[in-house]
Amino acid sequence: MKIPYQYSVRNLWNRKLTTVLTVSGMALVVFVFSAVLMLADGLKKTLVSTGSPDNALVLRRSSTSEVMSTIDRYQAGVIATQPEIALGEDGLPILAKELLVLITLNKRGTSKVANVTLRGVDANSWKLRPNVRLIIGRKFRKGANEIVVGKRIAERFEGCALGESIKFGQRRWLVVGIMDAGNTEFSSEVWGDVDQFMQAFRRPVYSGILFRLKSRELFTRVKKRLENDPRLTVIVKTETQYYKEQSELMERFIKIVGMVLTSIFSLGAVIGAMITMYSNVANRVVEIGTLRALGFGKTSVLTAFLLEALLLGLIGGLIGLTASSFLQTITVSTTNWKSFSEVAFRFTLTPRIALSGLAFAAIMGLAGGALPSIRAARLPIVEALHTWE
Amino acid sequence: MDEASAQGPINREEEKDDPLIIVKDLHKSYRRGAQKLTVLTGVNLSIPEAQYVVFIGPSGSGKTTLLNLIAGIDKPDKGKIIIAGVDISTLDESRLSKWRARHVGFIFQFYNLIPVLTAYENVELPLLLTHLSKKERKKHVLAALKVTGILDRAFHFPAQLSGGQQQRVAIARAIVTDPTIIVADEPTGDLDKDSAAQILDLLNYLNRELGKTIVMVTHDPRAAKRARKVYVLDKGILRDQYENDLSWT
C-alpha cells in the first residue's frame, strides 16, 4: 500500500522553520554549484564563440598566443599564396595580416588599470569576423590615427567612449566607432589600422595571419603544407581551436576551485538534510508506528520519508537555480592568464547546468534522507507505539 | 526530619490569623484563534497557612488555570491574588520569577525532571537561584531527598527511576527551598495505584508534620479525599466547598 504523497508534503509544511532552514542550506549549495559552472561555461562560450571554424590562424611555431607570435612580411607573403584560401568577390584571397599588442588602460572611475588587446587589422578582418558589427560611428580610415573600440571597452575604460581619445605609441588616437561582437572576445578589443599600429609601436612584424578556408575539409591539407614549409616556422590552427585553448587555463582553475568547494559544501548540506530528516523521524515515531499498525508496509514508510527528503532537495535546488539565474545579468571582467589580456564574459545558465543543478540537489536530498528513512522503516511497531514523551 | 525542621519556620510579615492565600474576583479567559474561551469567572477564596486544599472538577472547569494563577505561572485578566501579603497579579515577569523561586514549589503530573541531570542535581536546581554555598546546598538537597525517601537513588538519572520514584524526586525539588506554598497539578495522574498512595502519604506527611501549605488539582477521588478542604469548580465558578474528615488517616 502506498502512503499518499500529501503526507510528505504536509509534514514539510508543518515544520516550516526547519524546512525553510534546510532548504536554504541546499539552495546556497546549488547556487554556488551552478554559479561556478555558469562562470566556466560563460568564459568558454565567450572564447569559443569568438572563433569561427571556417577560419585558420597562422602563428609562429611554439607561440601559445597571438601576443607572442611574430610573422614577418616575407612569411606573410608565402602564406597568402596558398590555394586553399577562399577568394573574395574581388578575386583576392580573404586573408588578414594582423598585429596584436597589449596596452595598459585606466578603468573608468578608478585608479585601476588593465591590459587591453589592441588589434591592428586590415579590410579583410571585418569580412573574416562577420559577428563584429559596428553599432555607433564609423570604421577608422586607413592611414589615420583612428580606432574603433569594443562595446565592453567603451563602457569601462577612460577615454574610450565615442569622440574621446587615448594615447599610446606617442600618438593620440580618436575613437570614431564602437563595435559589438556579442558575447565574444572582440567586444573587449580595440581595432585600428595595422600599418599605423606597426609604425606607432615600431614593430615591423605581424602577430598572426588569419584567412578563410575554401572549405573546412581543406584545413588539414593547408596545415600540413604550411607547417612543413622550410621557409616558415609556423603553426596553423582553426580559429575555434585557438580560442578554446586560450580559455583552458582559466577554465581549469575555475573548475578546480569550484568543484573542490562544491563537494565540500555538498557534504555540509547533506549533513544538514540528514539532521533534519533524523529529527523528523524521531519526532514522528508514534506516527510511524500508527501507520505501520494501520497496515502500511516498510517500503511505504521508506518511500514517504525519501520523498520528503527528495522534496527538500528539489525545492532547495529550484531556489538556488532561480537565484543563480539572476547572475546572468552580471558581466565579469578579468585578465585571461593565457593571453594576459582583459576578457569580459557573462555567467551563462545553460539547460545542462540547470539540469545538473537540480540533479545535484535531488542527490543531496536523497543522500541526506537515506539513513533516516531506513531508520523510520525499520522501527518495530510495538516499540514505536509505546514511545511517548 | 530533624534536618528538615532545622531549616526553621519562615518569618512572615502578615499577622498570623490572616489567610495565607487570598483570591479575589478572579477572571481569566484565553484566546484560541478567533474565539474567546472563558475559563474563570469571579472566583473568590482564601486559604490559611498550613492548609491542604484540593481543586476538583470536570475537564475545562478551570481548576488547573486557578492553580497556575496561584502558582504565578499565569496572569489573571482581572482580580487579585494575594499570597503572604503580596498581590502577585501586579508583579512583572522578572519579579514574578524571583517570587516563584522563593515562595512556590511545583509538582507536575509528568514529574518534569530534567533528563540530563541526576536526582541530586534536579533537586539542587532551584537552590542555584539562592545565595547558598555549595556546602549548604548539599545539606538541603540531602535533607529533601531523605524526607521524600529517595536518598538511595540520589545519583540516578530520571530515566533510571520508576514513575513513583521520579515523583518523589520532583517533590524533593518542590520542598528543597522551603517554599511558602506547594502547588501540585495531578501529582498522581501518571502513577499506578500503589505509587499514587505512597505519594499521597508523602503529601499528607509534608502537610501534617512539617506544616506545609499545599494546593492541589486532581480528578482522582482518592487523592481528593486526602486533602483537608475540597473546592469544587465547574465552568469557571466555585460551585461547592467542603472539609474532609482526616481522622481516619
Binding site: 597589449l102 595598459t104 576551485v257 568547494l261 | 530534567i114
Partner: protein, 385 residues
C-alpha cells in the same frame, strides 16, 4: 552541578545530531579556511614584495621591452642604490601543464637585490661563471627531480627555439612567504642568441629592478626615473614592487572578489545548518524550559543554556575544521601548484575561521532563545514532545 555541566550534558543528549552538526561545522570551517588561503595566495606576491624595490617597465604595457641602455641612466638618479634587470622568458618545460616563471636575469647583480632567495655561496659562484647556467627554486627542483648539474631543456614561446640550461644552483626562500618556484638564467645568454637570430629584439630587457636607499623617497625617485625617458620611444612607468604586484592581482580581481563572496556564503550555509539544529533542539525542550521558568529561572538563564550549547557545538566543529584544514590544504596546494606556488595556512586565517565559528554559534542560539523566552509557561508545559 553548574551551568557548564548542564550545557555539556545537553549537548550529548542527541549524540547523532550533535556529531552530524559538529561535522558539518568542521567541513564548512575547513572550506572557509581554504578559501581565505586562496585569497591570501593571490596576494602572496604583494606580501612578499620589498618596500625598497621599484620596478621600471614600459609605460605602454609589460609586453613591450625597454632598451638595456636605460640601465646607466637609471643608476645615476640620486637615491638609487643598485639597478638590475630581467626579462620574461615564458618557455615551456616538456608540456604546457608544467608552468613555472622563467626569467632571463642580470646574473651578476639581480639576485643581490633579492636577499629572500637564499643560495649556497658556491652554487651562486658556479652559476655566475657558466653562461648557460641556471638557478631553480626548491619547489620546482623537487617537483621535476632536478639535481645540480642536470641539463634542463625549455622550449621558447616568445623567443623561439629550444634552450638548454645547466642547473648550477637551487635556492630556497628565507621564509614561507617566498616563492620557491622561479627559474633564473643569464640574460646575456638570451641576448647573444637574439643578436644572431632576431637582432631587432636584442639588447632589450623586460623591466629594471631599482633598489633605493630611503623608502620614503620611492615616489620621488619613481617620478625622476620616468622623467628621464619622457617623450622617448619607450616611455617608462616606475612604481614600487608592491604596486607592481598589486597590478597583477587587480587584473584578476573579479575572481578574488568572487572567492571572497563565496567564503561569506559558506558562513551563511553553516549558520543555516546550526540554526536548524538549535531550533529543533529548543523545540523539543520547550517543556523543559517551561519547568525551569516555573522554578523561577529567568530568560537570562535560558539564553545562557541555549547559546552555550550552540557555542559549544560551533567551537568544537570549528576546532575540528581547523585541524582538518592542514591535510586538506596540502592536497589543495598540490592540485593548484601551477597557480599558487605559495599556499600557506596562516594563523590569521585559522583564527578568523574560529572566530566565524564562534559568531555562528552565537547567532544560531539567538533565535531559539528568543522563542523559548517568549513562550508562556502554561503553553510550554502543555507542549508534548
Amino acid at each position: 552541578m553548574n551551568l557548564l555541566k548542564y550545557i555539556a550534558r545537553n549537548t550529548f543528549r542527541h549524540k547523532l545530531r550533535t556529531s552530524l552538526t559538529v561535522l558539518g561545522m568542521a567541513i564548512v570551517v575547513l572550506a572557509y579556511c581554504l578559501l581565505r588561503t586562496v585569497v591570501a595566495a593571490w596576494y602572496a606576491g604583494v606580501e612578499a614584495s620589498s618596500p625598497n624595490r621599484l620596478i621600471t617597465r614600459n609605460a605602454v604595457s609589460l609586453i613591450f621591452p625597454l632598451p638595456i641602455s636605460y640601465l646607466n641612466r637609471i643608476r645615476e638618479v640620486p637615491g638609487v642604490e643598485a639597478v638590475s634587470y630581467g626579462r620574461w622568458f615564458g618557455g615551456i618545460y616538456i608540456n604546457e601543464k608544467n608552468f613555472f616563471p622563467q626569467f632571463a636575469i642580470d646574473a651578476d647583480h639581480y639576485l643581490d637585490l633579492y636577499p629572500e632567495f637564499i643560495i649556497p655561496e658556491k652554487q651562486l659562484e658556479a652559476f655566475k661563471k657558466d653562461r648557460r647556467g641556471c638557478i631553480a627554486g626548491r619547489l620546482i627542483a623537487r617537483k621535476y627531480g632536478w639535481k645540480v648539474g642536470d641539463t634542463i631543456t625549455i622550449r621558447g614561446t616568445i623567443f623561439p627555439g629550444t634552450w638548454d640550461f645547466i642547473l648550477r644552483g637551487i635556492y630556497h626562500g628565507i621564509d614561507r612567504g617566498t616563492d620557491e618556484s622561479q627559474f633564473f638564467f643569464h640574460w646575456d645568454y638570451l641576448n647573444e642568441s637574439l643578436k644572431k637570430t632576431m637582432p631587432i629584439r636584442a639588447d632589450h630587457v623586460g623591466w629594471f629592478v631599482v633598489k633605493i636607499k630611503d623608502v620614503s623617497q620611492a615616489a620621488e625617485i619613481s617620478r625622476k626615473i620616468d622623467a628621464l625617458f619622457q617623450n622617448s620611444l619607450a616611455e617608462t612607468l616606475t612604481e614600487t614592487e608592491k604596486a607592481f604586484q598589486m597590478g597583477f592581482v587587480s587584473m584578476t580581481e573579479a575572481i578574488v572578489v568572487a572567492i571572497k563572496i563565496i567564503s561569506y556564503v559558506v558562513i551563511g550555509i553553516i549558520l543555516v545548518v546550526l540554526s536548524n539544529t538549535m531550533a529543533m533542539t529548543a523545540r523539543e525542550r520547550t517543556r523543559e524550559y517551561g519547568v525551569l521558568k516555573t522554578l523561577g529561572f529567568q530568560e537570562g538563564f535560558l539564553f545562557k543554556l541555549i547559546i552555550g550549547e550552540s557555542l559549544f557545538i560551533a567551537v568544537t566543529g570549528g576546532i575540528l575544521g581547523i585541524i582538518l584544514s592542514f591535510p586538506a590544504a596540502r592536497i589543495f596546494a598540490k592540485s593548484l601548484e601551477t597557480f599558487f606556488p605559495i599556499f600557506n595556512l596562516s594563523a590569521k586565517t585559522l583564527l578568523s575561521g574560529l572566530l566565524a565559528a564562534t559568531l555562528v554559534g552565537f547567532l544560531s542560539g539567538i533565535f531559539p532563545s528568543i522563542r523559548a523566552s517568549r513562550t508562556s509557561i502554561v503553553d510550554s508545559l502543555g507542549h508534548v514532545g
